[in-house]
């Protein structure tokens, strides 16, 4: 009897120790109000260098076929690691994904990944966006080849794994290491639950009670999901996306999607697998009155002869107040997860490699291109002044000018069209993002780069222009004055190239 207990103690001691030692508290620790994570840390122990490598890979567009898209393009920190203001995400050549990008946090507790749960282990997830023609359209073998011949990566792999070898396992494990460190557990709710000196207001408490009664059967526990797949009655779902059925072909699982966490909702809009709702009001309205009765609908949403979840306006208000307590500002602002915190900044592709030596002969086209520059400068001042609406309007004008442009010379036509399309796309997003300067900024660097490439390739400037680049803040912009600071923060060095007539 005593022997048995001893052995048991010994065994559990070993298990405990191994768990502790592999995950140094600085890199990953389990918040006291959370359950035990499910990720297999024993076969991929986190190390400082491993996480650093993972972070570099996450933000490096070298892993997409045209070197323009990184994991970080669709998973942005300020948006809870989903994509700002995009219903569906866009990848290379600006093609749209079928689904809304997912927020990334607390992944160590998840046992299946993707809206349909098609991937069982976080380590394997990255294969899917990289090889998906719509997302990054690259073969993983090719990515590894690019990494091997880069001046930067062999050394990073060496510090993370002991040798310079770059292989599938190391690549995927490093990405996981970084993603595993993204723990979001510092919301008001967490502080309240951990008795860290935060009291809930009366409304917040009432909201929490209502939430527990009405929502927590699916959005359960500290992670606010029971990790199951269900149909929550969204209307008009089509064969375009069958959800879990796509991976298991089980008729009973048609139109079932992962129950998502409800943390950080203030940053992660739009909502649902297809991004159909932009506000939480719409979400609650859906549960209260818009739930569609189908064969697939979860039973919890069709109880006692009532479809959906009855919610009075007052109850909706209180639930919203409670949901706000799940916002973790610390997480979305923590510099440790940002590209800016990389010890070795990602070697940027030299934009000048894309320049051509062309000339616009047609006078009208030349004028139109200069009108684009004027529009651009107006957009820039508006964004700088936080006037997102004005910036949106100017972007609309830019789109109109772009639509009129047309280059005839055969050798230059295709090049021009390519950047014309890109600029149109950037402008469109600044126009559509007229609600949020943040979203506009997401597209502003691309807008600047593409315009610079056109202007510099065709040497079409009537006035002196300056092209400014700041590595630390990953921002590029054009200006008509020499030392223009634009919106860049913490910039140690701005590189400026002068374009003179």
């Amino acid at each position: 009897m005593r022997k048995e207990t001893k052995i048991f103690l010994l065994l559990s001691g070993v298990a405990f120790l191994s768990f502790k030692s592999i995950t140094g508290p600085e890199l990953f620790s389990v918040p006291t109000n959370f359950p035990r994570p499910t990720y297999h840390f024993d076969s991929n122990p986190l190390s400082r260098a491993g996480v650093e490598l993972g972070k570099t890979l996450f933000y490096d567009s070298i892993i997409s076929s045209d070197n323009t898209v990184s994991c970080g393009s669709c998973h942005q920190q300020s948006a809870g690691f989903t994509q700002h203001g995009h219903v569906l995400s866009h990848g290379v050549n600006d093609q749209l994904t079928k689904r809304n990008s997912m927020p990334l946090f607390n992944l160590a507790w998840s046992g299946s990944f993707g809206w349909d749960g098609g991937v069982h282990d976080l380590d394997f997830f990255a294969v899917s966006p990289i090889t998906n023609p719509v997302e990054m359209n690259e073969s993983l073998a090719n990515v590894l080849e690019k990494l091997r011949s880069s001046p930067q990566y062999p050394a990073l792999f060496k510090s993370a794994f002991g040798t310079e070898e770059i292989n599938t396992e190391r690549f995927l494990k490093a990405l996981s290491q970084f993603m595993l460190t993204m723990v979001s557990a510092n919301s008001r709710y967490d502080h309240y639950m951990r008795y860290e000196g935060i009291e809930f207001t009366k409304t917040e408490l009432e909201g929490m009670e209502l939430f527990k009664k009405k929502c927590a059967s699916c959005h359960s526990g500290e992670l606010f999901t029971d990790f199951s797949f269900r149909n929550n009655g969204l209307t008009h779902l089509t064969e375009n996306d069958f959800g879990q059925f796509e991976v298991n072909q089980n008729e009973n699982d048609k139109f079932k999607f992962k129950v998502p966490s409800l943390r950080n909702l203030s940053y992660t809009a739009p909502y649902m697998h297809d991004g159909r709702f932009t506000t939480l009001e719409e979400v609650l309205e859906h549960y209260d009155s818009k739930v569609e009765k189908t064969d697939f609908l979860d039973k919890a949403l069709n109880k006692d002869g009532r479809l959906g979840i009855a919610l009075t306006p007052d109850e909706k208000q209180k639930i919203m107040v409670f949901l706000k307590t799940l916002d973790d500002e610390d997480f979305v602002k923590n510099p440790i997860f940002s590209e800016g915190s990389l010890l070795n900044p990602i070697l940027a592709k030299n934009i000048n490699d894309d320049l051509m030596n062309f000339k616009i002969t047609d006078k009208t086209q030349r004028e139109l291109l200069n009108q684009c520059v004027e529009s651009y400068l107006k957009i820039k001042s508006a964004i700088q002044a936080n006037k997102s609406k004005v910036a949106g309007n100017e972007a609309k004008k830019l789109m109109k000018v772009l639509a009129k442009m047309n280059i005839q010379e055969v050798s230059q036509k295709e090049f021009f069209r390519k950047y014309q399309d890109k600029l149109f796309f950037d402008a469109e997003h600044i126009f559509e993002g007229e609600q949020s300067t943040d979203h506009q900024l997401d597209h502003f660097k691309d807008l600047s780069d593409h315009l610079y490439i056109l202007i510099a390739s065709f040497k079409a400037y009537e006035q002196t222009l300056y092209f400014n680049q700041c590595q630390e803040s990953a921002m590029d912009w054009l200006s008509d004055i020499p030392t223009d600071l634009f919106v860049v923060k913490n910039c140690k060095e701005i590189q400026t190239k002068i374009l003179t007539k």
Binding site: S112, T168, L172, K173, Q244, V247, Q249
Partner: protein, 270 residues
């Protein structure tokens, strides 16, 4: 405790004393009675559809050798994964080493990849299981799992774009929350009264196994290419797996060859 140590020592000394040898297996790909020739040759299935094959490849794994008395030698799992491709001559002859000396009358293996390895961590997926390397066209990334058997080609009867057909058969039963079809099948191939003698490494016998790719299309379910030009994850995949589980048959045992390199040369390898 003492007893355990004793047994352990015995096991070790036994293994040391036991001599081992190697064998080769050569896979000969055919369509019915004709050799499989990629792209150029036209064939007919049981349904009467005409077709050409552009790609044919499959995994075998978890190999076992069966003795006359019915006892079995199970190969160490890590060394028992093979990806056989029609387009890669070298892959069609595999060598199994460290087989205990003895007489064997049959072989069995799994067609595809077992569920444990389909669910295993990335660190256990080396060589032909590397999802970014050798296995990159035999792995579904969005629905994580290996493709077991893959055949592609064209057929006038196909209703798909460019008259292509594609049969990508995988699915291992799923993990945790995700339950899927289980298309794992086994094959047992009897050497038809002949005996495979494993002696040592100098004398390497070669078993030739015929793989009849037409069995994907013909069998309990005769596949009409017009109706099912592409089969991947759907329920019909189980019918194809049920068909192809009979695609392997014994085609001969070569006893004369004396080393692996010569074997390969004799078979036109290298």
């Amino acid at each position: 405790m003492k007893k355990i140590i004793f047994i352990l020592l015995c096991a070790v000394s036994l293994a040391n004393a036991q001599k081992t040898g190697s064998i080769s297996i050569h896979f000969d790909h055919v369509i019915g009675n004709e050799p499989l020739v990629l792209n150029d040759k036209k064939y007919k299935n049981a349904d009467g559809d005409e077709f050409k094959v552009s790609l044919f490849q499959y995994f075998i794994s978890n190999i076992r050798l069966i003795r006359k008395d019915g006892s079995t030698y199970v190969m160490p799992q890590d060394q028992s994964y093979f990806l056989i491709r029609e387009s890669n001559k070298g892959s069609k002859t595999i060598t199994l080493a460290n087989i205990p000396k003895g007489k064997f009358t049959a072989i069995s293996f799994l067609i595809g990849i077992d569920s444990a390895r389909n669910a295993s961590e990335i660190g256990q997926r080396k060589g032909c299981l590397d999802v970014a390397g050798e296995a990159k066209d035999m792995y579904w990334a969005w629905n994580s799992g290996y493709i077991f058997v893959k055949m592609e080609g064209t057929s006038i009867q196909s209703t798909a774009k460019n008259n292509i057909f594609m049969y990508h058969i995988g699915l291992f039963g799923g993990i945790g929350n995700k339950k899927t079809l289980n298309n794992i099948r086994y094959a047992t191939i009897d050497f038809g009264g002949e005996t495979l003698r494993v002696k040592d490494n100098k004398f390497v016998p070669v078993i030739t196994i015929k793989t009849d790719a037409s069995r994907l299309l013909n069998g309990d379910t005769n596949v009409e290419i017009a109706k099912n030009p592409t089969v991947m994850g759907g329920p019909f995949s189980a019918k194809i797996a049920e068909n192809y589980k009979t695609m392997f048959s014994f085609a001969g045992l070569d006893k004369l060859t004396t080393d692996i390199d010569k074997n390969r040369k004799a078979l036109g390898m290298n």
